[in-house]
Homo-oligomer: 348 residues x 4
């Protein structure tokens, strides 16, 4: 039995990714899309400047775009709304009984909102009961993290469990698609690196600790480590590549560390969720991998690819990780969140 879903902010790049990933989904069926005043009332196929490299799914071409504040009748809603705009709309919908899986940052750090990567902290879904009780909602808001925080958090999960992470120094080389569309002007991008992304570093420096935190009595105690981030925009289309130096409470042995990364599997793999990659972490042995273009689509964009694991002369370990920013780091992450809820009977 399929569940009808709506996609908010469906004409933007993350909205388009949602529609692309939901096309032919075994459990979810796109029944409604919303858009800005400029596009509301028009058929999606006409009003949307489709920018992805695969064709617009036929099933959504004819959907009439609803205004962002329209009442919806789908139990599940994916939100690709821009931050700031998203917050109030999502609250209203959750209050009205909808489960809202959102990519927006507005509620990510709310104590009663699960900030979820299904492989990392599925147990945080228990916060929904807290959220409902506190807010008197019949629906819920569940957020996926910032795209740049996603890959490192996936990698840190098994390492933190085994050795205790104490410090993470992180340098990102982020794709242009992360800025949406039209996003970064080409005149700023070609033959250039911009060592700054507004608002990014504070998110990257705080979200992983919440996700790796411990849930006790309805509260998440953030994992007690510190992150320092340098975020950069480089001229690639998709895929955030990040260099990490990590300090641990207990320094891991080399073989032990590699084996942990190589063998990591989690609940979505056990449950065989439709969007779950066979391997959440893929460890590459070659000295020059992962490479952004060649590895970003691993696991249909849902795997985190890790390489160059080696000692760090300052902290303990250095490595490189790559995560697809608009699939695992945005729409795909949210879809997997909803799949986990579905599999656990949290969506009727």
């Amino acid at each position: 039995m399929t569940i009808r879903v709506a996609v908010l902010g469906a004409t933007g790049t993350v909205g388009q990714r949602f529609l692309q990933l939901l096309d032919g989904h075994p459990w979810f069926e796109v029944a409604a899309v919303t858009g800005s005043e400029r596009t509301a009332g028009r058929p999606y196929g006409e009003a949307t400047r489709w920018v992805l490299d695969t064709p617009m799914p036929a099933a959504v071409r004819g959907l009439t775009i609803l205004p962002e504040d329209a009442p919806l009748d789908t139990p599940l809603i994916f939100s690709a709304l821009p931050s700031k705009t998203a917050g109030a709309i999502e609250e209203r919908l959750a209050a009205a009984g909808h489960v809202v899986c959102t990519n927006a940052s507005d509620h990510r750090m709310d104590p009663d909102v699960p900030l979820l990567i299904p492989e990392v902290n599925p147990e945080h879904l228990e916060l929904i009961a807290v959220q409902r009780k506190a807010r008197g909602w019949s629906g819920a808001i569940v957020a996926n993290p910032n795209c740049t925080a996603t890959g490192p958090t996936m990698v840190l999960r098994p390492l933190h469990d085994a050795f205790g992470v104490s410090k993470v120094l992180l340098m990102s080389m982020q794709a242009l698609s992360g800025a949406g569309y039209p996003g970064v002007p080409s005149y700023d991008a070609i033959d250039n690196v911009v060592p700054y992304i507004g608002g990014e570093e504070p998110k990257v420096e705080s979200e992983p600790q919440k996700m790796l935190g411990t849930l006790l009595d309805g509260t998440v105690a953030p994992a007690p480590f510190v992150i320092s981030a340098h975020c950069n925009r480089v001229p690639v289309l998709e895929g955030h590549l990040e260099c990490l130096s990590i300090g641990f409470v207990r320094r891991p042995g080399d073989a032990e560390l590699l084996e942990l990364l190589r063998s990591y599997r989690s609940l979505p793999q056990e449950l065989n969720l439709p969007s779950a990659p066979a391997q959440p972490i893929i460890l590459r042995d070659e000295p020059d991998r992962p490479q952004t273009r060649r590895d970003r689509d691993a696991g249909r964009g849902m795997s985190t690819v890790v390489g160059r694991v080696r000692p760090c002369p300052i902290l303990d370990v250095k490595l490189v990780c790559l995560s697809h920013n608009t699939i695992r780091g945005a729409a795909g992450g949210s879809v997997l969140n909803a799949e986990l809820m579905y599999a656990q009977g949290m969506l009727r």
Copy 2:
């Protein structure tokens, strides 16, 4: 009075940069060029695939390319030879009385070879006397550092003097030109980042300490700090942009640190050397500078541009620096080394 110079390995990209920078030089005049077996004996203008964006200097077009092992009669020699090849040839020429300013890595870490950035450690030229005595040479070898080590070392000089550097975590985004020509295949470069550059990290992790080391009794005691480097190749043509997190013995105040960087001047500026930039370090206040394409030519490619100076939650300070890899980081660095020697009467 001009000094006649030869350029070794003149047909490669660094060789071409030497010829470009020496064109119209007030003190030095290119009198000879050497090349591989394939090109030796032919006129430079015919045998060379000139790849720079400015035209080949008219003065070198007609020079006959000499073989790499040809005897030379110029007092000063610039070496753009590839590492491994360079070592023995440079030794032979130094023994024969030539001053060899080299971009090759072979002799950089030799205890009696100055590894020189004129703004950073001009006093290390005293090693030449040690070198001559030890090796029985009438000439000398003087090296400029690795391109990726150059910018950070410039930035660390005033900071180390004032606060004592203890740790440097460094992440580079390096230009394609650093790999020479043909270098990186375009099929590996476009829409891609390669998180590995063979042999680069060990150089970046050791050369700065030598340059910032103390010369005492003819020996350089390396500066006692540790560097951890992540080196990456990004799709830009020129300019190495690097993110640094720096730990100090004494934590600097914000204003003090900025003022030190902003006001830094050194011997080449005092001596008004022809290739010396007015400011060896240019501090930018905008949140999104330096940018690779827009700032790499600052000071005609000889300045290091610094920005985003801010606290680091793990070490003490974070910042971004940019240095032109084939000008200041290679040929331009070597030319400035020779200018310093000339100004100090070390070239007759």
Copy 3:
């Protein structure tokens, strides 16, 4: 029943495309690969620098690379050998009874060698009988055309049949992958266009006439029109985009022309060949399509995408067409050639 095949020149980029496209093929199974002296004798998975963005097929990793002149026991051979090298080797194999489907240019213009696009001139396979008789071979050589000639020839087929093509002025913007690997240095590619590709224009100006020519009594009379080509290399990874101005014997009506392009289907579609796209020509109505990156993968890289059909003030009609140069224009074209032969019982 599957047919065992060999791939010659299997370690290069076209060779890799063959292996990628043959992975899981319903009719063909890769049983042997050949390579240069440098790689021969080693396992394919170790000796090959795999450059494509999908992983190396598991089935070929363990194959031992044979030398280029090894005797082979597969009835069907795909040749990705470089031109010049290819000619003699392919002749020897055809003489020994193999069917050789080649991407090399050496034999393309031989009068008795089919230069084949299955949608365009499937009847030219009759040349094989001529070839066998003339050369005393039990095998055969069948060539696919130059990648830049492929898209235009597809587009010209229905137009030539209906209106008679008299003149074609053609300007190409060709992908970097067309130069193989390492191919174009990134320092020549980024932020640059090179208006020259060695040896390309003569091929583009002669191959289409052979393919659109009439087979009579064992001889192909080339189609009597003239082509003028301007070939350019632009910084894109895959996909040749071409602007055409076409003159006709009978000037077509607008609607008639569009309908011909839109409805074009041919033998491979009828036979439902595994690699045949549903539509050999896809006509786009938007003013700004086809775009190289967004449309090159149409029909899994086997469709030619056409747009901007409009009157030409000098010749009759202007349009833009796009064809994937390493799929339809190289390995995919050759595989489809073999599929046509298989479907017609020409491979035992």
Copy 4:
């Protein structure tokens, strides 16, 4: 004696080019700048997002941006206003006695407005008398042509004079900067070609005939040849490269044609105008030149670089030409127009 000038639309990319080129100009001094409502009233240095790779000229940082409709007191005005907006404002200023040298397209095809390239049709300045008489203006409007029309028109001038041009088939590969800033989104530009630029082809197909037309009795009779254009956007920052096939009334001999191109000089060279390049046309002999990045700055961006001159099997001659689109094709073209007027005593 310097002339005070104003720049309209000074914060956009063409406006920035005007300020860059006028910095240190021997005859003209920027005294006023105008901008949109958003920026008017603020200091230029604060309100402007400077996007060029050289620093903002110090002299303009402090100028207060005037609103677009402000009265001005400079005899000479450069207009970088967007088309549509430009027309009425420029008319008002010309009526008020200002000489307006404009890059906007609004008045280019007005019969009494000189569409001027100083090397091509300096005599068309006589239209100013016609314009003043017809419109009752004491000032004047002088336009420079579309960037894509500029290079071909320069090349056609000597050829048309000698052989009579009858047909031009033209295919452009245009730079991203031509779309202004923010202009083309990077997500549309990287690894892509867009075969369409709105409104471009009609300009390219009509402006050259006006410039190469004959002035008789105050009217320009357009040159009687026809142009067919294919305009494409390719991922380069600056420089429009164009492939031309040209038909002539009298077919030129090869040597004759090359000599005409090589030796072409015109009035700006005679008058030694400050922005005039030594050679308006630079003929390259190498098979692979001009290349966009390597040749666009020839003659400080004011020369047109020509190469690959060869017979065309359909028309008479094929060649490639390159012109810098935001220097010669926009701001630099307009500045040279004003210099010509100054040298001829038309600016008081």
